[in-house]
Symmetry: C2
């Protein structure tokens, strides 16, 4: 089925907010096997919204609107949708009661404006709003479907995931199943090259790649008669891809690398501390953004100055003089230092040249040393990052550290399993 | 003048990338006094692009397209734009020569596909592409203007700033001038309330607010006969706003708070170190994202565990036992500790409950203590953040610390100026 998305809101036309709703809905609709043909954005202007609605109805089977469901005079999406499919608005008792109890709870008087939100097209399937006041709905009439969702991304996503997704799956004669694989250490074009035959001959399952700073995701989607068939088709494709690229895959469930790593450390009670120079605490700040990490994360020393490397981590002044702050020797002394002060099982240290200044011919911008101490084992890796942007270099360095941790944890956990045999 | 934006690219309809071009262009066009009425997104499909182009031409005076100017068969924006205004494509010699020298430089053969990029509408004003291969252009004909820009945001922004902006200013009979003020410590609706009379009666200059996580920006724009008049009108409005809200304004030049703070510290050689618990190194990682900060940033201790607070910062075990890790007493001992080990002039320490777990009735999620030691002066502030999201709390806490630093620096610098009298 062909779809169009209409985003309603003058703030979008002023560039005051970024339209993330279209990204979310496009991805979701593609997973459901629908063709998204157009996105439209229009302000809170009834004449223009009517024009766009008419144009969109000519071009597609399903229209999904976001925004314009609020209680004010400006909010007219619902009225225009109902008019387009000639369905009268009537008071929807369950929505009215939800509103009433909401206002009671927050101890505010419900105004006529608010009651407006409980009027919905007579033949609509109503989607209740569990995190806001505006209900959404789907109206199927005259061979077309108009779905109206609230504009705030949190409300829209919650409603889509809980109600709209199910509604659309019912409308489809097929069952859709998909999995998102996440990769690190391989670029989007290299990934496509490795899977070229699978991508070229794809009919079902389909493969779609998504690139994000330094990472690539791959969505595998199957549309079949039954869930079992769809799951089998996806799993079979996952196995094929795994057999070629297993070393690069860090999640089969669309998780971030930081989540994967944090979960493993928390689950297996592996304590961690870091000593960071060029990343300036970025790894620590990302780790500590994960709820529950306090059971394993002990400390981080951001040893930016040479003095701090000497005083906090016991790096020898001679090492800094002779090899320099950005060297294998310094990285190893840093990791030994953080290991000594923290006593954590897993310690990471990093030193590098983030740029844009500070590079030399011998030690260019992008040169990074990462040292790891896991129990008694110490290792150090050297990287030459190709990009020269400071933020990019720092972010990518953190991903490199997480990837090293992830692989070391996997190795350790496998070894432990083996030694238990 | 009324404008529409057309974004061309199938990857947008798959939700593979977020459309940031429309945000940028909408803001720029609003500054130029243009009314943006519609955004459209369409895939690399000639029939649909034609339909949209026709619809857009009926509704607006100026159409700006992004994307679809590449060398492949799919890229047809230029062809469809030229056809819409009935202007033939001809070889544009300067563009051809630029392409030729580009391919010479990268030592690759120029194909017929590449030459396609040098064909442009006969009557177009060409915008050369300084950072990519696809030139852009503006074609004014039949009372309409179509402007075609490349899709990659870096290329598009560069071209707009350097060429398209000037072109559009020439088309306007007025001179436009604007300034962006940035605020911290006041919400968007409170700001609007404070400026309600100015916002209500606005004709020129106009005021537009933009909210971002914990911060608000205000753009003041004037459209006048001469630049002097426009600048005077904007400056007069800035003074009015300053007289009401000076304490909340941290930039009159659209800078981030972190930049403002880092610049001042670097300029006045004020060394800084931090001790972070709940923010986990986030302040340090943001400070060290600023190029040149190494001249003043010394170190950070992320003292997440109680042990690390005792061992690295000399917090007394009794203080942790009696007052708890999240307390004024602990924050002050932390800041004394980081001051002692680093010797930095300016030291910050933070401890708090980021959530979602860990809160109690007495110490709820969002409770934060920030201690500051500037030379010999030590202070500590307590905050109760209302939001409960972990990431939001951590980000906002960093903004609070930056705001404290910014105000302390201003006070110190003013005192120093006075003592020099």
């Amino acid at each position: 089925m062909n779809c169009s998305l209409i985003s309603v809101g003058t703030e979008l036309l002023f560039g005051q907010i970024t339209n993330t709703n279209t990204v979310y809905l496009s991805q979701k609709l593609n997973v459901l096997g629908m063709n998204v043909l157009y996105h439209y954005t229009v302000g809170d202007n009834p004449a223009r919204l009517k024009d766009i609605m008419k144009f969109a109805l000519e071009k597609s089977d399903i229209i999904i609107t976001t925004g314009g469901l609020g209680p004010t005079q400006d909010d007219l999406t619902k009225e225009i949708a109902a008019e387009a499919l000639e369905d009268p608005l009537v008071l929807h008792q369950p929505s009215y009661e939800r509103l009433e109890s909401f206002f009671k709870r927050i101890n505010k008087k419900m105004t006529d404006n608010n009651i407006k939100q409980a009027y919905l097209p007579q033949n609509a399937e109503v989607f209740q709003n569990d995190v806001g006041t505006a209900p959404g709905f789907a109206l199927s009439k005259k061979g077309k479907i108009i779905i109206c969702l609230p504009g705030p991304p949190g409300e829209m996503k919650h409603m889509f995931e809980k109600y709209t997704d199910k509604y659309l799956r019912k409308k489809s004669s097929h069952i859709i199943h998909s999995k998102m694989l996440r990769f690190f250490g391989i670029g989007e074009s290299a990934l496509e090259t490795e899977l070229l035959d699978l991508i070229t001959e794809q009919i079902d399952p389909t493969l779609a790649t998504y690139a994000k700073e330094g990472e690539v995701s791959l969505r595998i989607t199957s549309k079949r008669e039954s869930m079992k068939e769809a799951e089998d088709a996806v799993d079979e494709m996952v196995e094929k891809i795994k057999s070629r690229l297993e070393g690069y895959i860090y999640s089969y469930q669309d998780e971030e690398l930081i989540e994967v790593v944090a979960k493993k450390m928390i689950k297996h009670h592996i304590s961690i501390s870091t000593a960071e120079s060029c990343t300036g605490g970025l790894l620590a700040s990302k780790l500590t953004d994960i709820s529950g990490i306090s059971s394993v994360f002990d400390r981080c020393i951001v040893s930016y100055s040479n003095d701090s490397k000497i005083e906090e981590l016991g790096v020898k002044p001679e090492t800094l003089d002779f090899y320099g702050a950005v060297s294998r020797e310094t990285a190893i002394e840093m990791v030994k230092g953080i290991k000594k002060v923290s006593g954590s099982r897993l310690c990471l240290a990093v030193t590098g040249i983030a740029g844009p200044g500070g590079g030399t011919e011998e030690k260019p911008v992008g040169l990074v040393y990462i040292a790891m101490a896991f129990d008694d084992e110490i290792s150090c890796k050297k990287f030459n990052l190709r990009r020269s942007g400071r933020s990019w270099n720092r972010n990518y360095t953190v991903l490199l550290m997480l990837d090293m941790i992830n692989k070391a944890l996997d190795k350790k956990l496998i070894n432990r399993q083996l030694s238990h045999l």
